[in-house]
Amino acid sequence: MAKAPIRKPKKKVCLFCQEKISYVDYKDTGLLRKFISDRHKIRARRVTGNCTQHQRDVATAIKNAREMALLPYTSIAR
């Protein structure tokens, strides 16, 4: 029986390291929207491919944006 070929996952590079962005701005909702799912949950590092530091920065930026009602906590319509 043929085994399913083991697929090597493509190594993702952290977007912020690549673009050399040092400060993740919580006001930039367009950028932050890339890092939340359609249920408005913060995407895991596994998905985003961010490095440890930048994933953390993104998470705090999203949380700050949520406090200021720039991004939703949850979707209202179910």
Partner: protein, 96 residues
Amino acid sequence: MRNYEMMIILDPELEERTVQPSLDQFLNVIKTSGGSVDKVDVWGRRRLAYAIDKKFDGIYAVVDLTSEPDAVRELDRQLNLNEAILRTKILRPGRH
């Protein structure tokens, strides 16, 4: 002296052109204590991601300022006492 960035959400029922003067009035606290207001950016009316005090819109304003920590704390206290202000946030940019 430290650099601060302050975001303020104001009541949507306010007239948008009265926002700037009323902000200046609040920011007097900074000026009298020796700090300086570097930039005032009024975004205008914007839809909130969720309702705050049953309001779905808000007038956003972002203020960059340099000041002593105590003056900023006093400014935040005064803003929170005001009914026309829905929410405030003070950050020191470049530092989390």
